[in-house]
Symmetry: C2
Subunit: 339 residues, 2 copies
DNA sequence: CTGTTAGCGCGTTCAC
DNA sequence: GTGAACGCGCTAACAG
């Protein structure tokens, strides 16, 4: 530790006041004469005093820390979301505690809420799915929480209109003349309210309206990585040589699809059209058509909500929907003649 | 909070022992009869008891938390690194506190070490650069620290041989017959020991040995994003129509370069070769030749080191170098005939 | 092997 | 407007 940590008593002694006054002065509480407040502040700066977060938390019951629960930080959406949330929290003087859901197993390991107990004032969960058990564990923490992406009954929600986004994506393909359009998305048994289910629903809805095939044969499940997107695309192309378009529920999976298409000697946007979902930073490099959203803004907004609740605002579980935008690039084009 | 939080006293009372025994039993300390330990454990489980981290930290002086300091979580290397570190820390019962360096300004804002004071037992810094002032602030925290990527005098270091990687990348291009080879990297005045400086040095060294041009005209500075990589590549192509190859110090910048090359109607790997650095997950999708490294393993290894030091191992500032590998894909190829 | 006793460093009533 | 005293919940020394 080098020099012994300076405590509130050191400051009080040096300033010739009590520790209570130091506490009040430094935290900007009322009932302190401007002159004493300035004096205390000066001494504190000089001594390099910072209140011990542990002691402060123990005495006040508030940790000034928010838990960030995500499935995997390395996936684009979550990295952006965490970044937005962390910056917002930091600016408000809050710390961000990272908790990545264990995914060594399939399905992933249990969300251990116990490690967050008494450690955070609030929790931000960003995930495409969250089980009833996990939600119960979260609720048992007894702190305000907000969900980004997947909504959860009784909790605030920040997200997008996934159904509308998927409808726009599929309509784009139908409008280009495609008639055999596959979908790559999450599990077919995900909760109906989950983003994965709603993206699938949008795909089915548009195809049904157009009188086009939309059964399981064209509906692939993948784990939202480029690798798995490439794998299931290969299976789709093997199974359905008549396939001319793919709607992937994430850009990362769409990028995997692009790779497979090219490996087959086919040209994306000419032989096979691919549209993704997210607005991934690297989409422009690949010429990937997509439904863009801002994960950064959603993370930031969710953090703001928690800060408001912690500041006394009612936690009435509102929903904030962010816009999506169809970004047309080269990976989608008219259906090939003769198909 | 719903039901009032259960304290160590509740457990002690229910088990008919003292709080000290509960503390010892639950933490696996010696000098506790197996039978009492089991009894205490059972009661604790039944009551859903978890020790208050604040109280525990205040009494013991240990927070069981490690600070993760990174410039931007959304960049591939740092996301992977943070993920590797978080998982390793969590497995050891430690929490990960995220601190992203403020980068609103240029150069970035100050690293405010004060917010980490008494909040973390150790710090992991992952960055391409870190100023002397920032290092001093970090040192003032008085806790063990490790640097990933950029080394820092007196601190443990986890990284790769950046010079060797850059040499391999540039040799690859020279071996393909290229003679006008540009470099896209970090600031030209970065510390000589920084990864950016060493990657630049590798490029210069190989070109100098081969008697090829390696001056400022072919040496571009960018901010390690795809966007900026695209921008400076455009400037390079405008300035040097004779350019046939580019070595970018990160895959994200290389991807930006690919975009610009294509936008000019040129074919990567045929008209202009591009090699990156990192082994980005999406490199295979783009056919990007690169020098691959594992950011995940480096983050994990750095976390392990800190855990060892916190467990009593000497903090003798060792260096752990991870391997790099040249991965050849389609973005590099023989120099065009007639160049 | 177990219980008792002090703090850890603050926030927070109350009095003054 | 300011200070004194108590307690947050736990760990660590010391007794026994």
């Amino acid at each position: 530790m080098g020099p012994m940590a300076v405590s509130i008593e050191d400051v009080a002694r040096a300033a010739g006041v009590s520790t209570a006054t130091v506490s009040r002065a430094l935290r900007g509480l009322p009932h302190v004469t401007p002159s004493t407040r300035a004096a205390v502040q000066a001494i504190a700066d000089e001594l390099g005093y910072t209140a011990s977060p542990s002691a402060s938390a123990l005495a006040s019951g508030r940790t000034r820390t928010v838990g960030l629960v995500v499935p995997a930080i390395s996936r684009w959406f979550f990295a952006e979301c965490v970044e937005g949330a962390e910056v917002t929290l930091r600016a408000a003087g809050f710390d961000a505690l990272l908790y990545s859901l264990p995914d060594t197993a399939r399905p992933r390991g249990p969300f251990d809420a116990a490690v967050l107990r008494r450690r955070v004032d609030a929790v931000l969960v960003a995930s495409m799915s969250f089980s009833a058990g996990e939600t119960a564990a979260l609720r048992s923490l007894g702190v305000p929480a907000v969900f980004v992406s997947v909504p959860q009954e009784g909790f605030a929600h920040v997200g997008i209109d996934d159904l509308a986004g998927a409808v726009a994506a599929t309509r784009h393909l139908v409008g280009l003349g495609h008639r055999v359009i596959a979908h790559i998305g999450g599990g077919r048994h995900d909760a109906p309210s989950s983003p994965t289910a709603r993206r699938r629903a949008g795909w089915r809805q548009v195809l049904a309206e157009a009188g086009l095939e939309h059964g399981a044969d064209l509906d692939a499940e993948a784990d939202f990585t480029a690798e798995d997107g490439a794998r299931v695309t290969a299976a789709l192309l093997d199974r359905r040589p008549d396939l001319t378009a793919v709607f992937a529920a994430s850009d990362e999976m769409a990028m995997g699809a692009l790779r497979t298409v090219r490996e087959r000697g086919l040209e994306p946007g000419r032989d096979v059209s691919v549209i993704g979902f997210d607005g991934h930073t690297l989409g422009s490099v690949l010429g990937l058509t997509t439904i863009a959203q801002s994960a950064h803004d959603q993370g930031s907004r969710a953090a703001e909500y928690l800060l408001d609740v912690l500041a006394g605002a009612p936690d009435n579980a509102p929903t904030a929907l962010f816009p999506t935008e169809l970004v047309v690039r080269q990976s989608t084009g008219p259906v090939p003649v003769g198909s």
